[in-house]
Assembly symmetry: C2
């Protein structure tokens, strides 16, 4: 009874996915709306996920030789204008500081939407010789892009992210870095978030404003829409020329450097929710679950139950498992529902009968399966179960996604494909007009080039196809 | 010879402390000036210090039950005005966003100078019942205060910090939290930064705009000036009333809650530099040293030296020591100077003769002492030496400071005391007029009440003293 009432608080995931998402993020206290339209407050349960994402990714960056730094929030408006495409792309959505310290500023300052310009300005000072290269710097910070339509984690005027900015002596080296970091993201998404991703180059229309080439990683959400979960840009000499990043090379000549940038954001939290969530709420992959296991005492007033829970909690903590015991006055059923909604990977139930038999009951949030385990070795069992869940969640997500990638050779096929929640592979002639028309008629955009695949004809105009594209509706 | 040339790049610490500071922070690449006046770029070597500060402090906060969250950067101007003292204190130094997304905003938004108001707004929504209390939340973020005179780390228009914001059911509990977090800061400053601090209550003039009481921790820099290194505020019901943070108490009555806030910032990096630095440059306490030990190969071309360095580096890494080996082409003398300037606590020299004798040479940055150690057990020796340095640096700083706390019972005595680089204890009648006059005539401000001490007469007016105050010139 309690269960139905509780679950009823969340909209039906099959019938109204957007409302399900909103219900889940608010009711599990991941996030709340800020007082200014389009802003979010990341609450402790949500921020804990971001901290885990940071910890894992930051370690991967450092293993690649990347160091962290911090650059100023406010960028002179004139910096944006130095790279023509960049200003065109970002000027319409910046927030502008016009007054400070009680006075009108001589030059308006932009709240960073991304930091290529201000970092380029510093790099031009720091990079003098080939000995100074490569520069491999990342920053974790807030950025702001004024958006008309917003949703927590997916699109908000302010969000948290990391942005890596590197400088290299040659195009080859910069291109290699672009790919390397794209692969770091892919590894991270799959191994830590259990989200299978498709990586590939973006079309001219979809690329970053100012890049030579943008590579994206796209993940399929449970409604079949795509979420761009990270991007890596090869910037060529565009920003080096705009900001005069030159170095004295070994051959004695002054040369413009080659730069890259790459980023992922709190959007990844949205990707986790929409990849793994189900009718009961959140389902966290263990590696980024704020709580990996919750212990629920059953009939706790009977002798020894709470003590056994506390002892097991200690053991799990020693095994580096993020665990907590729910000693609250709520009924076991209520607790089950709450922790299921909050997406905790493993629930451990301990009651008087279990104790007497030296057992515990384990519940897997991802598959909803129950099994018994010996109390004595419960910590080891839970540790190995968490590893299993992490692996199984990736495979389950991969299977779901692979079943929903279809091929279309006509506009009606493409439309039907995306309308029924698929990624659609289709040929493209390479003309922007066809790309625009696909968007207009099907609401699907070109997500990435399908690497290593070719097509006969353009899905739109029927002319010879130059590329195979993965089209999808997207967040 | 090389040594003198190298060191000559830094101004004489005895003759020109401010220039010494500027030279050291720039030349060691801790920081650089940003393109907008008053802003700084925290470079990788400086940011690594901040990461270590964050790691230690964050662990201490979590041990006290504090969770992290993230609140929006932009605050509606009207929020500031809800607390009368708060707006008076902060309005003159805010940066204001007036335009966003290509349009003029209906209400200007302030870039947060501190977040009591926007967090108070959210807490009024989250706190409903005594069951929701206490709320213990912290955020790590950037803040902005438009300053006329700026110096890297010490005073910049944007800086990084953490701000804790807690809500409690009673005044006693909130006051206790205020003291608890002040003590966390004190423990952290002394144990991690090796900076002895004096904690105490601030005068009305010096307190946080909107607080009932502000407690500060003050550290003596090498020039005898004080640096406010952290503050903890008891806010009473001021913000609870301004933002309607009410809860239904056990007795069925609706009551206003009591709040606190507390923060430390990247200013702590300035405190480290000016507490421990010397004529050769930086001196890092091991716990926050980005590099704790540097290995310098001597006559590296001779057989086995580089290999021995690499093997030792591995051993040190396994012992969780942050170590690096300088294989560059520079001369040993040049390397010694560079790593001394960069403040690395321990230098390990390995040459062919050392190798033959199974020894290494260890150099302590803090005392400039050299000693031999067995190569075989070098990792253990270095680990224990780092612990020793950490402890000795605190004691040395404490001794220096304690020798420079004097007592004065006249304005001329007070002036002479601060002019010769001391903290001066003196009686105060409690009148703002006397506090202002001391500032005007000696450039010293009341840092904190000297706890548990009393004085006979006011140093300024000669009337009966109500308090003993620690006066100092301050950053």
């Amino acid at each position: 009874m309690a269960k139905e009432q509780f679950v009823a608080q969340i909209a039906d995931i099959e019938k109204d996915f957007p409302q399900w998402y909103t219900d889940v993020v608010l009711k599990t206290r991941l996030v709340d709306y800020g007082p200014v339209k389009g802003t979010m407050v990341i609450r402790p349960y949500g921020y804990a996920v971001w901290e885990l994402i940071q910890k894992h990714l930051d370690g991967m960056f450092k293993a690649e030789g990347v160091e962290n730094a911090y650059f100023p929030l406010l960028i002179p408006m004139s910096f944006l204008s130095k790279e023509a495409e960049h200003v065109e792309g970002f000027a319409p959505e910046v927030a502008v500081v016009t007054h400070a310290g009680g006075e009108k500023l001589a030059e308006p300052l932009v709240v960073r939407p991304t930091s290529e310009t201000i970092i380029g300005n510093m790099y031009s000072k720091w990079v003098q010789s080939y000995r100074d290269l490569p520069v491999l710097i990342n920053q974790w910070c807030n950025v702001m892009r004024w958006e008309k339509t917003t949703r927590p984690f997916l699109r908000t005027s302010e969000f948290l992210w990391q942005e890596g900015h590197t400088v290299h002596a040659s195009a080859e080296e910069a291109e290699e870095e672009t790919q390397k970091m794209l692969n770091v993201y892919k590894t991270f998404a799959e191994e830590c978030l259990a989200i299978p991703v498709i990586t590939g180059r973006k079309t001219e229309k979809e690329k970053f404003a100012g890049a030579v080439a943008t590579y994206g990683m796209e993940a399929m959400m449970k409604d079949g829409k795509s979420l761009q979960a990270g991007t890596s840009h090869y910037l060529g000499q565009n920003f080096a020329k705009a900001f005069d990043i030159q170095f004295l090379d070994k051959d004695g000549a002054h040369k413009y450097a080659y730069t890259t940038s790459w980023g992922v954001s709190t959007r990844l939290i949205g990707a986790i929710i929409m990849t793994h969530g189900d009718a009961r709420g959140l389902v966290f992959p263990p590696k980024v679950a704020p709580v990996q296991a919750v212990i629920v005492p059953i009939a706790a007033k009977k002798g020894g139950v709470n003590e056994a829970c506390a002892a097991l909690e200690e053991k799990l903590k020693k095994a580096d498992i993020r665990v907590q015991t729910d000693y609250s006055e709520n009924s076991p059923g209520w607790k089950f529902n709450e922790w299921e909604m909050k997406g905790v990977p493993v629930r451990i139930e301990i009651g008087p009968r279990d104790l007497a038999e030296g057992k515990v009951m384990l519940f897997r949030r991802d598959t909803l399966e129950k099994r018994e385990a010996a109390l004595d070795s419960a910590a080891e069992t839970v540790a190995s179960l968490l590893g299993e869940i992490q692996k199984d969640m990736l495979e389950a997500a991969r299977k779901r996604r692979d079943e929903r990638i279809v091929y279309a050779d006509s506009m009606s096929g493409l439309l039907a494909g995306v309308e029924t929640g698929n990624f659609v592979k289709a040929g493209w002639c390479g003309d922007r007009a066809c790309e625009d028309k696909v968007k207009e008629e099907t609401a699907a955009s070109a997500r990435v080039y399908a690497e290593g695949e070719s097509a006969q004809t353009c899905v739109c105009c029927g002319k010879k196809a130059k590329h195979m594209i993965i089209f999808a509706r997207a967040y």
